[in-house]
């Protein structure tokens, strides 16, 4: 990460040194180009989420007092990674809503189960939440926006994730295949998907925090 960061900082410095100052009256220079992507030590190909090294956390405001924090523990993702032009990569992901974990400590109710009822995830009718990328734009040496269709509660809406490429390992010391690591954040307005229960006391905007490692797809990993 430090090395990536240094590479990014160096790229910015070099960019700053690049063009000569504009002459008075000259047309404004074009918008600064996105820093060249960092080197990725992993080949183009199919990658599968390393489910033992991935987390999908969500946070929603509770009565203006805290960001109530919960997570899904069963989800999967497939990445078709383009090492030459990462913006040509594609991602699909699926989340099992019944894996929601609030870690509610009270014995008075099963809050995870309540969240599966029709008011919230309506998991019997909609047993999967899916995400399919539609566009990837590189925004920095190790940053990109990944826009995609999120389908939840039968409603499909575009959602944009801010993604950071954390690094690659080739080979991964245990899996012995190339590996990629990412962090991502996004905001989902639950009302857009028809989940309006308790809006007011509980926020509409849900912060989504993702940490994900991917391993090159092999028969063993898939």
């Amino acid at each position: 990460m430090n090395r990536l960061f240094c590479a990014g900082a160096l790229a910015l410095l070099l960019a700053a040194c690049g063009p000569p100052p504009p002459r008075p009256g000259a047309p404004p220079p074009p918008a600064a180009a996105v820093a060249a992507p960092v080197k990725v030590d992993a080949p183009t190909g199919a990658y599968t989420l390393d489910k033992t090294h991935a987390s999908l956390t969500w946070r929603v405001n509770h009565m203006g007092l805290s960001q109530y924090t919960a997570r899904f523990t069963r989800f999967d993702a497939q990445l078709s990674f383009d090492a030459t032009d990462p913006s040509k990569s594609t991602l699909t992901a699926t989340v099992d809503p019944t894996s929601v974990e609030t870690d509610y400590p009270g014995a008075d109710k099963d809050f995870d189960k309540e969240l599966l009822e029709p008011n919230f995830f309506n998991a019997k009718t909609f047993p999967a939440i899916t995400f399919t990328s539609t566009a990837i734009a590189l925004t920095g040496a190790n940053a990109a926006t990944v826009t995609g269709d999120l389908e939840m509660l039968g409603v499909k809406k575009p959602v944009t994730l801010q993604v950071t490429f954390n690094g690659s390992k080739n080979p991964h010391p245990f899996a012995q295949v190339p590996a990629l690591g990412f962090s991502a954040i996004g905001v989902v307005k639950r009302s857009e998907f028809g989940m309006t229960h308790l809006i007011g006391g509980v926020g509409d905007e849900v912060e989504v925090l993702i940490q994900a490692e991917f391993l090159q797809t092999t028969p063993a990993i898939q």
Binding site: M63, L65, R71, N166, Q211
Partner: protein
Amino acid sequence: MLRGILLAATLTLAGCATAGPTPDAAAAAPAAPPATYAGIDAPSGTYALDGRHVSVSWGVRHLGLAKYIARFDTVSGTLALDAAQPTNSALKAEIDVNSVSTGLLDKNGARKFDAEVAEALGAKAHPKITFTSTALTRTGPETGVMTGDLTLNGVTKPVTLTVGFYGATTHPMLQKKALGFSAKTVLKRSDFGVTKWDMFVADDVEVNVEVEFLQQ
């Protein structure tokens, strides 16, 4: 009105009393003394940590690829709030190490990995992590820095939390005052003798807390 004019005149005279600073020097003049911030709109007294609205999560970098995120599920604590002078408030909190939850189950659906992490944190000899605040300073109307003693794995060290105050409200169902905070810190697990997996897991542990307290 008259008083305003007098005040302005006094200020003008005061400005003339010393040699006028150059514009640059004026810009570099020391900042005004630290601002004082308003008290908290809730009664002073004892507040209990609301175990239903708390999350203590932590993240540690794995192989330089991603942060491994986990949390502690069983957390309790008491806040002694001084509403007029919030910096005189005190916090005590306790975490059950065996409540660590990675969300990762083994092939039989057992929380085997959670048990391994708890063991790495010294749960057998030291089943509780404790935090006792020692100092609180305010950095803004809704922000502060809390220092305290953290005991983990039987080792006590000072840690500093960056604290955000979301606000105080009357809980609509309980009809008690409720307070909400966030807190963050980064600590070195090696400082507490927790070094397992250090070949591929970073030393820095990022801790994120979201917590509500209820008036007792």
